[in-house]
Symmetry: C2
Subunit: 325 residues, 2 copies
């Protein structure tokens, strides 16, 4: 029972005996800041105490809870789907962006920019039912391997962040994913890994349509963008779906800046956390100039406003769960 | 602790000593159906057992959890707002639909149809921040009185439905409001009455915009329809926001039919519940011909598919909580 645990955790005597809630973190500033914050706002004697109903924590996904290099993992899914679906689409052999994908010409695909990507996503993410798409993703994740790490994409989640999610939940925070990635793609994969149920995953999505035929209700995925959950889309979607301002917000790029600002505007004491990719050996190193997960304005505001920035290389003992084995 | 309660409730010996979970219901078919369903799907020995994570219950609001006659309560809010805002809008004295509202000419307002209503809603529901709107609604509900019942609108909730919500939650169902009404209007009023947090209230909404100025993040309400949470909009929004099919669905009009069909398509045993307004003395009596809350096709499908229909007059001992006093 959650409540019992948190009561034990907050009693004074227990403090010293408590086991480390973030064992994969070095004893660094970021870890100290997080723990000091959580202990402060969950202490009913503190002026900064936050009632349980307002303990909303929002986490970006790509590059924040799992890796995002050399491309968003959802793009690898789209590419693999094109190759599978190509049997029924002989025309793709000569049609871009499918031609490039089928010829494994990633340079040519990249040149087609966002327009090419949207075509790719619509072709592979629509035209089926919610259940069919969910099954596609679940089937794919079983065997798909990351091109350079050579492990499953779902193994490339950040162990220290899994511990952070768990730590927050143990302190009665409600943890949400708020990502630019596709919501149904994430729901199919990350629910169990993160311990976050479908209804606490917010993301971008394509349009859908309701059909009722022969006594059967079905929701079909249709080719159109319903919502882009990025930049100002993040606070807007948080207000729309959660209806509360987060008190804890975590991201890794400029696409999270508005969500950070929104959390920072909370009248309760809030915590803004940026993951800075500084580890080119164990993960990847990139920030201000990166085409994926650019962290530039966000880093400036984090520094000027005193938000906490995780230095992956120095702050984390391990990056991935499999390093613990 | 919820889990402990539900364990006690499901142990065999406790069954006979349990107090009545639905005391404001007569011993009728609808009550028996509800209890038989809940006991079946929460019994881990039953073939129909539903895991806690899938126990999603969705409730329409107007005419289902509170009354909706002689007009949706949100319309009374809009009318009262027009009268308040008129000081700053002298032009409204000659401009429709405001002119009719200011002259208390409801017949003339009704003649302007949906077009007039949309104008009224946009003028009174947009142009401010989320917090300002929330404060407006909370201020209004404190003193506003229903035109014929002469009590606060928030007193016109259905006592038997409050008991049902509580009964479902005691059995680890997650209860949601899924309404055609405005989501932020409902969040400001019903959260405490229903025991349903903001993040479990889904509704129609106008568009919003994010602003960041002088280090302050603000969400503004703008004049445009973002989502109409009615008819097929209900299952679409449920899939979008919850990402799970309901197993329990309750409504009172044809606007809920698609949500009912969606729940009926659940592979888990599901329960579809219609409230039929049959009590012209204590509440109102209306169905197939009503301009508000029309229940026609829904009633047909409920009868042909064996869904449970509440006969308000005969099934409920009391309608409103104040009748208990
Ligand atoms: Ca990211
Ligand atoms: Ca209704």
């Amino acid at each position: 029972c959650k409540n019992q645990n948190s009561q034990i955790g907050s009693s004074e005597n227990a403090t010293e005996q408590k086991s480390d809630p973030l064992p994969s973190w070095n004893e660094v500033k970021s870890k100290q800041n997080i723990i000091a914050y959580v202990e402060d706002v969950t202490n009913s004697e503190s002026a900064n105490f936050i009632p349980v109903s307002e303990r909303i924590a929002t986490f970006d996904n790509d590059g924040n809870l799992w890796s995002e290099q050399p491309a968003y993992f959802q793009l690898f899914f789209a590419i693999d789907r094109v190759k599978e679906m190509a049997v029924d689409h002989p025309e793709w052999k000569t049609q871009e962006p499918f031609k490039s994908v089928l010829e494994n010409d990633m340079a040519s695909l990249a040149k087609q920019g966002e327009h090419g990507l949207v075509k790719l996503v619509m072709a592979t993410h629509s035209g089926n039912t919610i259940e069919e798409f969910d099954a596609n993703v679940k089937e794919w994740i079983k065997t798909a391997k990351h091109p350079t790490k050579n492990v499953g994409f779902d193994e490339l989640v950040y162990q220290p962040m899994l511990e952070l999610l768990q730590y927050l939940r143990a302190n009665d925070f409600k943890t949400y994913v708020v990502s630019g990635g596709g919501v149904d793609f994430m729901r199919a994969i990350v629910t169990e890994i993160y311990g976050i149920p479908a209804e606490q995953i917010i993301g971008s999505r394509i349009t859908t349509a309701y059909e009722y035929k022969d006594g059967k209700a079905v929701i079909k995925r249709t080719p159109g963008l319903d919502f882009n959950d990025d930049k100002e889309g993040k606070p807007l979607n948080i207000q729309k779906i959660i209806g509360k301002k987060p008190v804890f917000s975590s991201g890794n790029s400029d696409g999270d800046l508005q969500m950070m600002q929104y959390a920072a505007s909370n009248s309760y004491k809030s915590f803004m956390l940026y993951v800075h990719h500084t580890d080119e050996v164990r993960e990847w190193a990139y920030d201000r100039e990166s085409h994926i997960g650019r962290l530039d304005k966000g880093l400036d505001q984090a520094m000027s406003d005193g938000w906490t920035v995780i230095d992956m290389k120095n702050d984390w003992k391990v990056i991935y769960p499999f390093e613990l084995e």
